[in-house]
Amino acid sequence: MTEIRNPGMSSATLGQSSDSGHCAVDIDPVEYTLRKRLPRKLPKRRNDVYVNMKTDFRAQLARCQKLLDGGGHREICVHGLGLAINRAINIALQLQASSQGALQLAANTSTVELVDDLEPEDPDEAAEPMTRTRNNSAIHIKVFYPDP
């Protein structure tokens, strides 16, 4: 579900949209520029790995492997948001496969609330800039050595 909030005014003209992270249907694309804010961050431990789509897959895999092997961590957490969910799963499975079954996985899913800014483009300044929230899925996979 998407909430659309309009500072100063009620959100009258805007309707609901799908929660796939796609641009809103009812908003006239010519009228507004969409600016996405970064997802809310939380403090990061050393064994947290946030997966993205820009970095090379092998590099991210090697980073996780290094944390488990040389970093001295018994467990790591692999986080993926939206499009990166696939990749996060892939990394976790690759880690498990390369460890010959020594590693175990525990996956959790969650929903992350994201914020978008909509800036009006028409020069008459009749429309106001708006902010809306939308939801996106996330996955958190714990990769760990089971206690003996």
Partner: protein
């Protein structure tokens, strides 16, 4: 003979008797030879004789004589002859006794008898010289006493507080110091710029740590040198006047709704009244004061760079018709009114005391008369009192105030800047009932009495508390404003420098809902109000600041050493404003990088806020770092990236002369020959020439394709309709394209249509780049430049003034082969000027006297093309290896067609590749894009001025 030699000779012969030169002068011969009597008796014969005698006395060959005399004189008068000889002997004796080398007595001694210690102890000298030496010594001692009087006072005296202030005020007469100057001067390389002394870069090596601070923690900068211009008046009148300076086509203006309510800070580029696409003045940021109930007057602060303050001030005055200068006494009356309105004690004499701050001298005399302790002059204390700061319009009622140096502005950049603020500042504590009941001379107790004000304060401090629960500054809506009153931040300085970190976990559960609301809606409108807007409160707070010394004394009297001072002294409440700065907005990478907060503090409190912030583990940046910041953020930086503004043009001239001086300091053999590298403008980019040449090329094509385009032009008219420009525009000066619609169109054309990683987040119908669209675009923006960001595809670090070129079809094929293709090479150019310079140098040596005749003779030998620059440039400003004005054609100078130049370039730590910011000609860009295949749109070549190697780069135009 050189001048020095003549001088030396004169000095040597100073004490010599003149008659030694008996030979050369004519008169003595008369004495010696012909007697007086003889000359009387027979004038003609005597004259003859004397001429004979003359020739007798002359030694060697003489011009006038010609022949040697073959006859000796027939008679000699004994008495006169003897007299003449006696004079000669006397002169000789005199010359012998005088020393020649120097007037010092040691000259009288032969060299082997001189000892160094003789000058110290005269008894070592021989008796006959001793007396004279004593005399000389006394004289020199006397001289040294005289010198001692002019010597400066002792260090202790100089370091005395009052004297130090005097000295400081003298030193900042020309270039004003910021309040943090002394702190900076100990740690930074200082530069004198725009009438201020500013920190350029730290003396530490900390480029990378500073970048890291910006991207992970917090970087602090002192931006107090930005000038604040205040406009007061009725809202619609203000908007009416200001709307002439901006255009809606270039984006939001002063009238933007959220900004107008005071909830957001806005920024605009100002133009001269009604001249929109041309004659830009420069960028300003502005902030409206939230509406106060019961008053139609609004207050607007515009923050401008000092380089363009005068331009904008003059424009404001003409637009608002504010010609009448309000003399300094008048605002004092107004102040007093406002003070009473604000409910605090009006202190007119105190305000008057601080207002005219002409310099130390008057201050000192004032102190002598009345006896109050000397105060450091704050703010723009060096400004002379007769420079007006307030202008009022009789027709519109608008008042313009120049608040330069009245408000201290610090910028905190980085995701943790809010936690630094939350750590360092504490919302003002309420005062206890006793002080409330007593009438006091401070503003805060009066303030506490009013219920509504306290309620507002409570809400503001609630919002401020929520900040602690936020992880990154980028989570907030960009440009949010928060007003607040805080306690004196000096009271809770940590003992050690600690890194401020957010405490998300604790705060999370408590106000999760509130945090969400804040990040969605921003700060509610009424919380944006601050008492910083009131001049009376500002002055009051500045005057009543507890001195460092006093505060330390109070701290030392605390029972438990090191604990916080309680209760907070009544003077220690300061109104501030916090303004959020948005991070990177355009583009898709590194979103909201470099977001942060600006902290506005009344003057005088600069150091009191600076040190507590520094103790929160922030890095401090200088001017260099702000350039890096805007570079990574991908926004144009003033004044580097505004060549169409007068201030930007001035900056370019300065930069050119600076770079040329630096170039000339190198030995000639070690200089780069820019001509051979095919670099026309290594120091200053000829934007005007570029735009003109491309305009000619564009219009030439237009004529060719005019017939074809005409029929389609009607269909495409909807594109052109928003930016209609008179067709027969006299192409005079180039402009920078800031029309947001055109920029968006151009941006969509620059993107390759189908490429990975370039997915459009919002699919939008943009007219495709075809012939008609191109033609219409060119007619409207023929003389325009467009600001672009270039990122290199593979290797290479771009330099300042690197040239942006259009790739040929072969180059694009090369790029297709592999991503690692390093790009083509420019063939080395011939230096036609070098051959002309060499002979001219030789001939210049030969006939140094006649330079003007020399130049055309050498230019005859050259090719006719290069005749012009050589003859026009005077011989002195001619530098080997650099083209002199006028330049040959810029566009077609190299093997690849020139599109533009780079104004800022560096290896970008955030993107991990070389990145450059610069301008290209719109016509040239469109021309290039049309010729490129769809999947390789927006590829250009970049070449440094010092190299021949081209590198592939990608154009991004971010809207």
């Amino acid at each position: 003979m050189s001048a020095a030699k003549v001088k030396m000779r004169q000095k040597k012969l100073k004490n010599q008797p003149a008659s030694v030169q008996f030979v050369s002068s004519g008169s003595p011969q008369h004495n010696g030879g012909g007697g007086e009597g003889s000359s009387d008796n027979d004038p003609p014969s005597a004259r003859k004789k004397s001429s004979h005698l003359q020739s007798l006395w002359v030694r060697g060959h003489q011009k006038d004589g010609g022949l040697y005399p073959d006859k000796m004189p027939s008679f000699i008068t004994a008495s006169s002859f003897a007299r003449a000889r006696a004079a000669e002997v006397k002169a000789m004796l005199k010359a012998v006794t005088k020393t020649t080398s120097s007037c010092h007595i040691f000259g009288a001694l032969p060299r082997h008898m001189r000892r160094r210690a003789m000058s110290h102890n005269t008894k070592r000298l021989p008796c006959r010289l001793r007396e004279m030496a004593n005399r000389l010594r006394e004289k020199s001692l006397h001289g040294s006493v005289k010198k001692k009087q002019t010597k400066r006072t002792s260090r202790k005296a100089r370091r005395r507080h009052g004297n130090m202030l005097l000295e400081f005020n003298r030193r900042q007469r020309k270039n004003v110091w910021l309040e943090t100057h002394i702190w900076h001067a100990k740690r930074f390389h200082m530069v004198k710029k725009w009438g201020y002394c500013l920190g350029d870069r730290p003396t530490l090596k900390c480029y990378r740590p500073s970048y890291r601070a910006m991207s992970t923690h917090c970087l602090l900068q002192d931006l107090s040198y930005y000038c604040c211009l205040e406009l007061q008046g009725e809202e619609d009148k203000l908007l009416n006047c200001l709307s002439q300076l901006t255009s809606k086509e270039a984006g939001p203006t002063f009238a933007q709704k959220l900004c107008l309510s005071g909830q957001r800070q806005g920024s605009v580029v100002l133009y001269k009244a009604g001249q929109f696409p041309s004659q830009a003045l420069g960028p300003v940021t502005f902030l409206w004061r939230p509406r106060t109930s019961g008053s139609a007057d609004r207050q607007l602060w515009t923050w401008v760079h000092p380089a363009l303050k005068q331009d904008i001030l003059a424009e404001f005055q003409s637009v608002c018709q504010c010609e009448a200068v309000v003399l300094p006494p008048l605002p004092l009356v107004m102040q007093a009114d406002m003070v009473s309105a604000a409910g605090s004690q009006p202190e007119p004499d105190k305000t008057r005391e601080i207002k005219p701050t002409p310099g130390r001298k008057r201050k000192q005399s004032h102190r002598d008369a009345n006896g109050p302790p000397a105060k450091k002059i704050l703010g723009d204390g060096t400004r002379s009192p007769d420079i007006p700061v307030t202008w009022k319009s009789s027709s519109t009622g608008i008042v313009i105030n120049d608040l330069t140096m009245e408000i201290v502005r610090y910028r905190l950049i980085g995701p943790q800047s809010h936690s630094v603020l939350a750590d360092a500042l504490e919302a003002a504590t309420d005062c206890d009932d006793m002080s409330k009941s007593q009438p006091s001379c401070f503003w805060w107790p009066d303030h506490c009495k009013e219920e509504s004000k306290m309620k507002l304060h409570q809400q503001q401090s609630d919002v401020f508390h929520i900040l602690k629960g936020i992880y990154s500054s980028a989570e907030l809506p960009p440009g949010t404003v928060l007003g607040l009153t805080v306690d004196d931040p000096r009271l809770n300085i940590p003992k050690k420098r600690v890194k401020a970190l957010p405490c998300v976990e604790e705060a999370q559960e408590v106000d999760n809902e509130k945090r969400k609301e804040l990040s969605l809606l921003g700060v509610p409108e009424h919380c944006c109000q601050s008492f910083l807007w009131e001049q009376s409160v500002r002055n009051h707070v500045t005057e009543n600041k507890i001195s460092e010394q006093e505060l330390n004394r109070m701290k030392s009297e605390v029972l438990v050493p090191g604990s916080r001072l309680r209760p907070t002294p009544l003077q220690g409440r300061v109104p501030i404003l916090l303004v959020h700065q948005s991070g990177k907005q355009g583009g898709h990478e590194m979103n909201s990088w470099g977001a942060g907060w600006d902290l506005l503090v009344p003057k005088g409190w600069g150091m009191a806020f600076w040190i507590p912030l520094v103790y929160r583990g922030v890095r401090i940046g200088g001017l260099k770092m702000s350039v890096t910041h805007s570079q990574n953020k991908g926004v144009p930086h003033f004044p580097h990236d505004y060549p169409d503004c007068p201030a930007g043009a001035r900056f370019q001239e300065e930069q050119e002369s600076e770079l040329l001086e630096k170039f000339k300091r190198r030995p000639p053999a070690k200089r780069t020959n820019y001509i051979k590298n095919g670099c026309l403008a290594p120091f200053c980019c000829p934007w005007q020439q570029l735009a003109e040449e491309w305009d000619v090329i564009g219009s030439g094509e237009e004529r060719k394709e005019d017939v074809q385009a005409k029929s389609d032009a009607a269909m495409q008219s909807e594109i052109t309709s928003p930016h209609r420009v008179p067709a027969s525009k006299p192409a005079t000066h180039f402009t920078v394209l800031r029309n947001s619609k055109s920029l968006r169109l151009l941006s969509s054309w620059c993107r390759p249509t189908s490429s990975k990683g370039q997915r459009l987040h919002h699919v939008r119908e943009m007219p495709p780049l075809d012939l008609t669209a191109r033609m219409t675009f060119q007619t409207t923006h023929g003389m325009s430049l467009v600001w672009i960001r270039l990122s290199l595809l593979a290797k290479g670090k771009p330099d300042l003034h690197a040239v942006v070129c259009a790739p040929t079809a072969d180059d694009l094929k090369l790029l297709k082969k592999g991503p690692g293709a390093s790009g083509p090479q420019e063939p080395s150019h011939r230096d036609p000027l070098k051959s002309t310079i060499k002979p001219s140098k030789k001939s210049a040596k030969k006939k140094a006297s006649d330079k003007t005749r020399d130049t055309p003779s050498t230019s005859d030998q050259t090719i006719s093309m290069f005749e012009e620059p050589l003859s026009s440039s005077s011989a002195c400003d001619f530098v080997l290896g650099v083209w002199s004005n006028p330049l040959p054609s810029v566009v077609s100078h190299c093997s690849r067609v020139t599109l533009g130049w780079v104004t800022q370039a560096d290896f970008s730590l955030s993107a991990g590749c070389g990145e450059a910011l610069g301008f290209v000609s719109v016509t040239g860009l469109v021309h290039t894009l049309v010729g490129q295949p769809l999947e390789q749109r927006g590829m250009v070549l970049l070449r440094n001025p010092t190299s021949l190697q081209y590198r592939f780069a990608k154009i991004n135009i971010e809207v």
